[in-house]
């Protein structure tokens, strides 16, 4: 075969190419392109083709320029240990190299896995409907706001969010709100969680959605979710709750506190720390089923075949009625409904959802609850130890925490974070004298060293 300067991923021999060109009736491949001379490109990109080995070496060298730090970072992106079985099963090419399940008869496996993922979210949220993924927590929140705008009967245009919210998440929300002519406003917080009285004062007819998080961006567990839900309910606003898949396994059920929509991050299961790549949760009450964004997998049945029409094979001559899965309610989606679709989303995070489902199966409910409980215990224990140091107080907020907490330092926070980095640790500097520290099973074994480094730099 001649692959000189060609793609290594096309199997054509020169003879085959010639035979194919002859069958078409042209002399060469260029004759098949119908690009006017005036806009044709005849330059070079200047990209040299490299071998696999060269590229692996090159990228390894580049990535080695990231400092080798122990990260105590969170604020919306979390790494937990991902068992090997997750990689090995999810990397099976039948999953990884498949497309969206437009032909369900040959896609039962992925459809069932996504159906199981949806079911896991239904259990964790208590809500009836969960889609099979948004891009991440931030875009899921944006989609919740546009859903609220569509389903809410009055003409309000305000989305209320907590004043302590990850800046990037709010920025994404604002972009989704922009097109729907919605305005994002904040309500105050008191010691790390919602100031529900202030929220109640602010709430009114103009509000289409009230958003609250538990855990918050600073890791605080919200204690008055039901009260927030009531405020939303009284003004006929939607109550959207943000959380994450691990926390949901122990926290009070969103359904029980009156959540209409649950958004958040599920990438804490299945994905290693990956520079912010995520898996957006979107679950809601049955009432909004036909307004849900994104893909939904449903159970159905094999249609009974016409009499005597089957020619045998795997389905069996008397098949029919057997449960099967399919993408459903697609008239909500952009490829059918175009500008009247519930969202523009097409490609989503399906494979990440598969990974999260496998991870959850591997843990089982026991393992998942243990993991969540450790997120509470480790955070409390590390906060206690940092609190003992002179020049630092933790946690800043007198709340229960999940994975992470804010630390007040007497010195300016940014230089402290820089000094910690020189000691080999990454933490967040979130205010003039505020740091934030996140502990999971990945770094829990390094807390002694972190505390020692704090002592060194404070």
């Amino acid at each position: 075969m001649s692959w000189a300067n060609g793609t290594p991923y096309a199997p054509h021999t020169d003879d085959e190419t010639a035979a194919m060109l002859a069958a078409i009736g042209v002399d060469d491949e260029e004759a098949l392109f119908d690009i006017p001379e005036s806009v044709a490109f005849d330059g070079d990109f200047g990209i040299d083709a490299r071998t696999e080995r060269e590229i692996r070496d090159e990228c390894a060298r580049v990535f080695a320029r990231n400092d080798d730090l122990t990260e105590f970072l969170g604020r919306g992106h979390y790494g937990h240990y991902v068992p090997s079985v997750v990689d090995h099963l999810a990397d099976r090419a039948e999953f990884l190299t498949s497309y969206t399940q437009y032909q369900p008869e040959v896609s039962q496996g992925f459809l069932q896995a996504l159906f199981e993922y949806q079911s896991m979210l239904v259990e964790l949220t208590g809500l009836d409907v969960a889609n099979c993924s948004m891009y991440d927590a931030a875009t899921a929140l944006g989609e919740a706001a546009t859903l609220a705008d569509r389903v809410r009967s009055t003409s309000g245009d305000t989305v209320l969010v907590p004043e302590q919210l990850r800046e990037g998440k709010r920025a994404v929300l604002e972009n989704y709100c922009d097109g729907a002519d919605l305005t994002v406003e904040t309500y105050p917080m008191a010691d790390g969680t919602a100031d529900v009285d202030a929220l109640a004062d602010r709430a009114g007819d103009d509000v289409v959605m009230v958003y609250a998080e538990s855990p918050t961006v600073r890791g605080c567990l919200e204690e008055r979710l039901a009260a927030i839900g009531e405020v939303a309910d009284e003004t006929d606003a939607l109550f959207a709750l943000g959380s994450d898949v691990v926390a949901l396994s122990v926290l009070e059920s969103p359904e029980a506190v009156g959540a209409d929509v649950v958004v958040g991050e599920a990438g804490a299961l299945g994905l290693p720390t990956s520079y912010g790549m995520g898996l957006g949760i979107f679950a809601c009450r049955d009432d909004f089923l036909r307004q849900v964004p994104g893909r939904l997998v449903g159970a159905s049945e094999e249609r009974a075949p016409p009499e005597g029409a089957r020619d045998g094979g795997a389905g069996g001559a008397d098949a029919g009625g057997t449960r099967a899965y399919t993408l459903t309610l697609q008239t909500r989606e952009q490829h059918i409904r175009k500008e009247r679709a519930t969202s523009n989303i097409c490609t989503n995070q399906a494979w990440v959802a598969l990974r999260a489902a496998i991870h959850a199966a591997t843990l089982g409910p026991d393992g998942l609850v243990d993991l969540a409980n450790d997120c509470v215990r480790e955070a409390a224990a590390l906060a206690d130890r940092i609190d003992e140091l002179s020049g630092a107080a933790a946690p800043v907020h007198d709340r229960h925490h999940f994975r992470e907490f804010a630390v007040r330092v007497d010195q300016p926070a940014a230089p402290v974070a820089e000094d910690l980095e020189k000691e080999g640790f990454a933490v967040h500097a979130i205010g003039e004298h505020l740091l934030q520290v996140c502990v999971t099973d990945l770094n829990a074994g390094k807390t002694d060293e972190l505390v020692a480094a704090f002592e060194e730099v404070l």
């Binding site: 000189a4 300067n5 060609g6 793609t7 096309a10 199997p11 054509h12 194919m20 491949e29 098949l32 006017p36 044709a40 490109f41 200047g46 590229i55 990231n66 080798d68 990260e71 919306g76 099963l89 039948e94 497309y99 437009y102 496996g109 996504l114 159906f115 199981e116 896991m120 409907v129 920025a171 567990l221 122990v250 926290l251 009070e252 912010g276 790549m277 449903g298 159970a299 159905s300 029409a309 089957r310 020619d311 094979g313 795997a314 389905g315 057997t322 008239t331 059918i336 175009k338 009247r340 989303i345 097409c346 989503n348 995070q349 494979w351 959850a360 089982g364 409910p365 409980n373 974070a417």
Partner: protein, 476 residues
């Protein structure tokens, strides 16, 4: 031709591989061992508790009931199912690259450098001046691009209300324009399947923010009048948006920037062979001309002053963010590795072989292809047969069928894109599957598929009686 897909049918039961929940669930008393007070916690949690061997077997069986590009031909038009080189997975799995997005720039130089390199090659390939990698999928790239266009117009005190889109465009274009708050003006296709210049003249005006265009278009035709199209839109003060879904056909022969496009997205799973993962993750980098660069999402990444590495910065008039963090990083790394593997010659050859394959396959099938000359994909018509039925029958012959009944300008369309990865014999098999299915009896088409894990599935029933979780199946 015959093909049987694995099928774990259970005798005497109406299920195949049972749901994890049917294999056994466990209820845990959450409060028993909780460090939290009862009023913050749920009482119990019920989920499946398979052992690891059971988990491995469950997902392996599911995988065997799933078609993939590694299983065989997957010629979904517009979806560009290329082979996903295995080594790119290993490149992306480098633990040194698996860092948190909130790292300081100084401690994340490796990732920033790779982002910069990818931005540069994408800009070169598209003929663009600046690129953001943040959008997590093609549709997210569209929304980013249209929001950038909107911010640009608003910055110049020039509010506009409409986005013009050809009728044959991807559904995402319409939904994106609506999400960004624009009214959609649908442009009817000309008789030859291309943009009708007179219709375009009539459609654009003072309210036109942008024209969204795919080129080659969704039936594979190059919009030969692209320079005139660009002039019409630009003369009206609008911007030209390039939907990158079909960029794979142009590699090395045409660049959107040279055709007058101002803003574009790249579909990395289509053009740069990253795995589609059964629905995602993708990545939808956006390229723009200089005038639009100040509006790109924040942060951008660039090479700092000489010798001081790479840095993040906020563009002057940024639209803000379109993803919570830096987008789908692992996917972007795979795209970089693919581009590096192919280089100039490979990228150009990939386009050539994709166009060769589409033309050869069209030559070998008995179905009519009304529009040409097409490039990497063609829309055949099933004529008086139902395209969806023909597609179901093709499944029995061991190939995945094309995209059916779209675009609507071709009746009973079978939009076919074999990509460059199929060789002649594979294309011959694919053609035979087309021809056998197309010529089969009405009864056979109606009964198809027969040899797949599941027979024809009741779609109407699924939508009429939605059961979206195993909880909803309880009692059945």
């Amino acid at each position: 031709m015959i093909h049987d897909q694995a099928n774990y049918e259970r005798e005497g039961e109406d299920v195949r591989e049972p749901l994890l929940s049917e294999k056994g669930q466990e209820t845990v008393d959450v409060r028993e061992d909780s460090p939290l007070p009862d009023d913050l916690t749920r009482e119990e949690l019920t989920l499946p508790n398979p052992s690891e061997p059971e988990t491995a077997r469950h997902y392996t069986r599911l995988s065997q009931m799933n078609w993939a590009i590694d299983s065989g031909p997957y010629p979904l038009g517009s979806c560009t199912m290329k082979y996903n080189p295995k080594f790119t997975e290993d490149v992306a799995a480098d633990p040194n690259a698996a860092i948190h997005p909130d790292r300081s720039a100084r401690s994340a130089q490796g990732n920033l450098e790779l982002q910069c390199r990818l931005q540069e090659v994408l800009a070169d390939i598209g003929g663009m001046d600046a690129v953001t990698l943040q959008p997590p999928a093609g549709a997210a790239g569209e929304l980013t691009g249209i929001l950038v266009a909107k911010a640009y117009h608003e910055h110049h005190g020039n509010d506009r209300s409409e986005v013009v889109i050809p009728a044959s465009a991807h559904g995402t274009n319409f939904a994106t324009a609506a999400t960004a708050g624009y009214d959609v003006v649908e442009l009817p296709s000309g008789e030859d399947g291309r943009v009708d210049l007179e219709a375009l003249e009539a459609a654009v005006g003072d309210e036109t923010a942008a024209l969204m265009l795919t080129n080659p278009n969704t039936v594979g035709l190059f919009e030969r009048d692209i320079s005139e199209i660009a002039d019409i839109v630009h003369d009206a003060g609008g911007l030209l948006y390039y939907d990158g879904a079909n960029l794979n056909a142009l590699l090395g022969r045409g660049r959107p920037g040279d055709m007058g496009f101002d803003v574009m997205h790249y579909n990395v799973h289509k053009t740069f062979a990253t795995p589609h993962g059964g629905g995602g993750p993708g990545a939808g980098p956006v390229g723009v001309v200089d005038e639009l660069a100040p509006f790109l999402p924040t942060p951008r990444v660039r090479e700092a002053a000489e010798g001081s590495g790479y840095e993040r910065f906020e563009p002057d008039h940024t639209i803000g963010k379109v993803h919570g963090f830096a987008g789908n990083w692992l996917v972007l790394v795979k795209a970089y590795a693919y581009i590096a593997r192919l280089g100039d010659g490979g990228l150009s050859d990939a386009a050539a072989k994709a166009v060769l394959n589409a033309n050869y396959l069209a030559e070998r099938i008995d179905l009519d292809v009304p529009h040409g000359p097409f490039h990497h994909e063609f829309a055949a018509t099933a004529g008086d047969r139902d395209a969806a039925d023909v597609a179901k029958r093709m499944l029995d012959f061991g190939v995945h069928p094309p995209t059916t009944k779209w675009p609507e300008m071709v009746p009973e369309a079978m939009l076919t894109e074999p990509t460059e990865i199929e060789g002649q014999s594979s294309l011959d098999d694919l053609a035979e599957a087309f021809n056998l299915a197309y010529a089969d009896t009405d009864e056979a088409l109606d009964a198809a598929p027969n040899r797949t894990a599941a027979g024809r599935i009741d779609q109407v029933g699924a939508a009429r009686n939605p059961r979206l979780s195993w909880q909803a199946l309880d009692g059945e």
